[in-house]
């Protein structure tokens, strides 16, 4: 098992800078997820670590050794690709054997390793099938098996589940988590799916346009997003935002005035902020409460009933849509007028530059 360290990593294609100086350290056995919208550079960053893309500047260290100029196969990594990338002309056994053979491992040892991994991944019946004869899930298992047999220091996953259907994706997610616990290998996992990020990661790295927006545990990102981008990106449905005017603050909180004139006292500190500054209040759909009357009222436009929960989309007087996640049995109907209550303890406050103000109290699960 190994540590991975990125020191001010940069990547330039022609004249465009894709990765703009990323520093990050990944501990032994840690499961790190790179997440971000498409084009944010997460896959490029992973490929730089893998050695499939050159590093323009900065240092990449694996176990303390600088590996910028080391061949991909000699970095001690194994990668699982989105498209599985199995060798179509080899059967499952040979797919897993390929890397071991190149490494010069004796045949008996190869056989033992492959059979062991095949047992773990329930691939034994398919060892002599070609990839073309396997289902998507089985191919994915073979790709994972091919990575495991090499006994790498670090596993790299590049959106490994995005080609699977929803049910299988859920199942593989659980299997991958279990496998990680069992193998205890350092893992770097790239996805655009925040459910995968939230459920599997020890540490999430949120990327946007080649820069790190925030690094933290899943619940840290959920409860204490560092800026508007992370707040919007983590959590589903995304966080709601209300424009507000800063009124003043002290060490226990800050008061802001919403569009409808109501005053909210949010428990965040706002040092140095001048009264009258435009700020943004954020609150997650699951924290907004519905009331039949009161301030902050709007008209229900869509009601999405998911069984256990209901998502109520409310159009506010300023035209913005606010999503409220509420009980599955709520009786709200479209075209009715509802009022929204924003519990201050669940509110976030963002400065005009998008940065979040520090909460007075850290969430116990996101210390």
């Amino acid at each position: 098992m190994a540590t991975v360290e990125l020191k001010n990593l940069r990547k330039t294609y022609l004249t465009e800078e894709i990765i703009k100086g990323i520093s990050l350290s990944i501990e032994e056995r840690e499961f790190v997820v790179f997440v971000g919208p498409s084009g944010c550079g997460k896959s490029t960053l992973l490929r730089m670590i893998a050695g499939l893309e050159d590093i323009t500047s900065g240092d990449l260290l694996i176990d303390g050794q600088r590996v910028n100029d080391v061949e991909p196969g000699k970095r001690g990594l194994a990668m699982v690709f989105q498209s599985y990338a199995l060798y179509p002309h080899m059967d499952v056994y040979k797919n897993m054997e390929f890397g071991l053979k190149l490494a010069g491992m004796p045949e008996a040892e190869r056989r033992e390793k492959i059979e062991h991994v095949a047992r773990t991944l329930q691939l034994e019946p398919y060892l002599h099938h070609k990839p073309g004869q396997l289902s998507g899930g089985q191919r994915q298992r073979v790709a994972i098996g091919r990575a495991i047999v090499r006994n790498p220091k670090v596993f790299l996953f590049d959106e490994p589940l995005s080609n699977l259907d929803a049910a299988l994706r859920g199942q593989m997610r659980v299997e991958l988590s279990a496998l990680h616990r069992k193998l205890g290998a350092t893992t770097i996992y790239v996805t655009h799916d925040q459910v995968e990020a939230m459920t599997m990661a020890d540490k999430i790295v949120v990327l946007q346009k080649g820069v790190v927006e925030q690094i933290g545990s899943p619940l840290e990102l959920y409860h204490h997003p560092r800026n508007l981008f992370v707040a919007r990106f983590i959590g589903s449905p995304p966080m709601n935002f209300f424009p507000a005017i800063f009124q003043g603050g002290d060490s226990a909180g800050s008061s802001v005035q919403l569009r409808d004139g109501s005053i909210l006292y949010v428990p965040v500190t706002s040092p140095g902020l001048l009264p009258g500054t435009k700020v943004t209040v954020g609150i997650r759909p699951e924290h907004v409460e519905l009331a039949s009357s009161g301030p902050n009222s709007g008209v229900v436009e869509v009601v999405e009933r998911l069984g256990a929960i209901t998502l109520v989309h409310v159009r506010m007087p300023d035209g913005e849509i606010i999503v409220v996640q509420t009980d599955g049995a709520v009786l709200t109907e479209v075209e009715t007028r509802v009022s929204l209550t924003l519990p201050p303890r669940n509110c976030h406050l963002f400065a005009p530059d998008g940065l979040a103000f520090e909460a007075c109290h850290r969430h116990p699960l996101a210390a």
Binding site: L14, A50, G51, L52, E71, P72, G73, K74, L77, A78, M79, F81, Q82, S83, A85, L86, Y87, P88, H89, F98, G99, L102, A103, R146, R150
Partner: protein, 275 residues
């Protein structure tokens, strides 16, 4: 109604297909037919479709020239030229398909453009080069020229086939510790084999039938089958029977070869479209 249109369209297309095929095949058919005629029958008007076949033309052709000498030269030149061309084109196409730079496209187009130049335009320089390097009338000299004329097409075809191979598969090979060479030989080549085979076949056919350079760069020692045919066309006037017999002998091997490998050829040429 729709079904009716479909059926009539199908019949029309079938007739058209057969018509074109027969039209293309007719000269070959007539050549083979003529080769079994006597010289008098060969030039009779109206042309005879039914006659008493004779092997006299073949006998005379074999008597007058050493068919096997020419055939061997053709085999050496086409196989040699194809083997060298494919060996050179594989790495070239690999680099263009998987490590493209901003000049790759231009290079490819430029390579193809060399095929648009009429060969006679470079006849004198090539002839002089061959003479000065003592490659005139040698199989090596002809093979080198054939190889060079076909190289652009071979690179193009291989490039297209290689582009069909998903890059992540090669990257997986690299992650597994394969060197570039191993990646090419152990992963790419097996995957692109149908494409490589059909490219080689095409090159073989082109080299086999190549006449311009054979006639200009060889005389006796290295003369291939195309020169063998030509030798029956001039001095004493045209003898269609013998000429047809010689031509039939010259094209028969490649025709049979093409027939046997047509499945491979078609598969290679439509590779990717039906993956």
């Amino acid at each position: 109604m729709a079904l009716k249109t479909k059926t009539s369209t199908r019949i029309g297309v079938t007739i058209l297909g057969w018509g074109i095929a027969l039209w293309l095949f007719f000269p070959i058919f007539w050549m083979i037919l003529t080769s079994f005629k006597s010289e008098v029958q060969a030039i009779s008007t109206p042309p005879k479709l039914f006659f008493m076949p004779t092997l006299s033309s073949y006998g005379e052709v074999f008597e007058r020239a050493s068919y096997w000498h020419f055939a061997l030269n053709t085999v050496i030149v086409s196989v040699g030229a194809t083997a060298i061309a494919v060996a050179l084109a594989v790495p070239a196409a690999y680099s263009m398909a998987f490590l493209p730079s901003k000049r790759t496209r231009g290079t490819l187009l430029w390579m193809l453009s060399t095929r648009m130049l009429p060969p006679v335009g470079v006849l004198v320089p090539i002839y002089l080069l061959a003479r000065n390097t003592h490659l005139l009338d040698t199989c090596t000299g002809l093979a080198v020229v054939d190889m060079l004329t076909n190289l652009p097409i071979i690179v193009w075809m291989l490039y297209t086939f290689f582009r069909e191979v998903p890059a992540p598969i090669l990257e997986a090979g690299r992650m597994d510790g394969a060197t570039r060479w191993q990646e090419m030989t152990m992963v790419l080549l097996p995957l692109a084999l149908p494409g490589i085979a059909s490219t080689a076949l095409l090159s073989l056919i082109l080299c086999w039938n190549e006449a311009f350079w054979s006639l200009n760069l060889t005389s006796s020692h290295a003369a291939p089958l195309t020169a063998f045919i030509a030798s029956f066309s001039s001095p004493e006037g045209l003898f269609f029977g013998k000429l047809s017999a010689a031509s039939t002998l010259a094209v028969a091997p490649i025709l049979v070869f093409g027939w046997i490998s047509q499945k491979q050829l078609v598969r290679g040429l439509t590779f990717g479209a039906v993956k």
